[in-house]
Subunit: 413 residues, 2 copies
């Protein structure tokens, strides 16, 4: 994988970087507090794209999540447009909320000139309040999707909630004589109004890929990236990641047959790079966060166990608070790895904080000042070797600050 990853180089822009993808945004007035862009429309320039989605595992699922799943199943994994809004999650709204989401999708289909099943939907914001469909209908006709970098950036801004930064990523590679681009945008786990954390991500490529293969590529990429991000352990009702393949770069359509192995692996690496980049940006911009925590686990029994251990450490309130306090507290790291469910033998466990080895089967002497200094960096690295097997995995989180508590509790007092 390392070899094919090196074929990719990072590129400017986000969701509109791949050819064949256009974006537009508008102020529909859905945000309770400020009049800022809150509606983003992504369209496929020519015909439809292969499309795939991965959605929240939460069983309390929002209407747009249910509708997008239905659309992907009905269309056989094809899409012409994605409509996304901030300000309202359209979750917990029952059959009325589903009707609202369907009405918006139908209007988008009219505007774009496609079937409603070729429109995917995403929402983020307040749970339990109804979507202002009329406000959306009012601004829809004026939306003029463009392929420009600025249009992509504006769309990335329209989906933000309490995020403090837009999140875009893009990579480009020359594969079999064709320039292939993968680009995307995301919003992080920030509260909207003060109700709900939602992660949304939209990724596209101009490669030509059949829907079943595209779905498999997305599943794999999400497992390594977005599923390894933890801000507060709360899975939202609206989490959605979409992947479109416009085919605008040309070439035969990849379906995953034997002789395409190299090409598929290359595309997979590009999709994964963009997803991981966006995932890292989400963790770094967690609510109240001042530092990104990267946890690297090696020596696990399996890759799944490595991911499990990494996620447990990145998600531990005690580890997060220790990082916030710049305290090189390896006991909390060991305990968090130990409770993850991953196979672990304390006698074989090795832990590093930055480049300081702090535990190796037993406490080992280390420079506490250097370790503490590392923990004050914007990007903190915790490395754990379980010494048992070949499994490796990563996870990303952020420190736990008093601001997190303030953002999520003080509004009502």
């Amino acid at each position: 994988m390392r070899a094919v990853e090196t074929a990719w180089r990072s590129a400017p822009g986000g969701i509109t970087a791949p050819r064949g993808l256009r974006a537009a945004s508008a102020i529909a007035g859905l945000r309770a507090t400020v009049a800022a862009p809150d509606l983003a429309l992504l369209t496929v320039a020519d015909g439809s794209a292969s499309a795939a989605g991965v959605f929240t595992t939460n069983r309390f699922r929002a209407a747009p999540v249910l509708l997008s799943e239905l659309a992907l199943a009905s269309s056989g994994g094809r899409a012409r447009a994605i409509i996304a809004n901030a300000g309202c999650a359209n979750a917990g709204t029952g059959p009325a909320g589903m009707a609202d989401a369907q009405r918006v999708a139908a209007r988008v289909a009219d505007a774009v000139g496609c079937a409603p099943t070729e429109v995917l939907s995403a929402s983020t914001g307040l749970i339990g309040s109804r979507l202002d469909v009329e406000a959306i209908e009012e601004v829809l006709p004026a939306l003029q999707p463009r392929a420009s970098r600025a249009a992509g950036r504006e769309a990335a801004r329209a989906i933000l909630t309490t995020d403090t930064r837009t999140k875009e990523a893009s990579v480009v590679a020359n594969l079999d004589g064709r320039t292939i681009t993968v680009g995307g945008m995301a919003k992080g786990s920030g509260m909207i109004h003060p109700q709900m954390a939602t992660m949304l991500a939209f990724v596209a490529t101009d490669a030509t890929i059949e829907p079943p293969l595209l779905a498999a590529l997305l599943r794999d990429a999400v497992r390594d990236s977005f599923n390894q991000v933890t801000v507060d352990g709360d899975t939202s009702t609206n989490d959605s990641v979409f992947l479109l393949a416009t085919g605008a770069a040309g070439g035969p359509s990849l379906a995953g047959s034997g002789d395409e192995e190299g090409a598929v692996a290359a595309i997979a690496a590009g999709v994964s790079l963009v997803c991981r980049d966006l995932a890292r940006q989400i963790a770094a911009d967690g609510e109240g966060a001042t530092r990104l925590i990267e946890v690297n686990v090696t020596g696990a029994l399996t890759v799944d166990e490595a991911r499990l251990a990494a996620r447990s450490v990145a998600g531990s309130n005690l580890v997060k608070a220790a990082v916030h306090g710049a305290d090189p507290n390896w006991g909390r790291i060991a305990a968090a790895a130990g409770r993850s469910g991953a196979t672990l033998d304390p006698g074989r466990l090795v832990i590093w904080i930055g480049d300081q080895r702090v535990f190796a089967g037993e406490p080992c002497p280390f420079d506490e000042k250097l370790a503490s200094r590392h923990l004050r960096r914007k990007r903190v690295t915790l490395r754990i070797d379980l010494g048992i097997g070949p499994g490796a995995g990563e996870a990303w989180g952020c420190d736990l600050s008093a601001d997190y508590v303030a953002i999520n509790s003080e509004y009502a007092t």
Copy 2:
């Protein structure tokens, strides 16, 4: 179960309430900051007691946990004494730490006049530092275990760390013409020094019970009580719950055969009551906590799914922060139940905050002021009916305050 529970009434005292149990405590000087009692010794008055233990599922396990498991296996579930210390977890200390724990147990065995395998061990405190065995040896000979209520209370104080209150509970019942008492003490998930949360609990009864049955009783009671407490989701390296049955109340020894069903159910109810009482006290005294959160789930597919959903809600950072802010935010409750893994249909879900029904398949009108006022109480009740099956379960947690972050991060800055 309700019928047998009513046979029990709460009684004064804690671990020394059952006949045949004695306690002593001392200042060994293990605490880094203050000279307060830090060593507790529990002894069985006459002969040995049946003994059982349930230990942390963390794979990074402390020496006293490993040693206690070994002792219970070697002795066939019999014990004469339990030695517990605060100030040092004796975790992550490798073979040297194990030798330390063994040496302490051997000294206790000498003092009590029993085999080392009849001594159980528990520690809580700093991870990674060695136990000061000599300091313990120095004070051991002076310990004079007594059966008094005061001796029990002093022992309950000796095991505390950042707990703000001692935690004791006791119930008594007349069963088959005999007065049976169950009593216990616990320490909660407070940081010791600022390293590790540990839950320790010690429960005893004067009923006469064979070790295998006692082990089963304890497993069941722990599942309903301590395992449903969540302060910060971090399982410690040292969590231990012990149950002793001294037999001092007399009567034939219960082994769980068919005709003993009623008696076993009655004892089980008493043990469960004490464990749940201690569990609630631990949640209410969580670090930085200002409120106890009780979550009651009904209508789940199974009892296990009910417990899962209750624990997920009680442990959600977003729910905890909302309670802290007295915000009747049912969306966070619904989302936390939805991500628990329990079977859930939003259309059948009903949620109450105190006595206010806030969601019933869709948002329903409620008095926000009354709901908010309920959330300001010391004891907050969140009720969830999944409307699917017969499963019911409870969990206990606490609100998330800026103090939690301060306690766990600011020490190093």
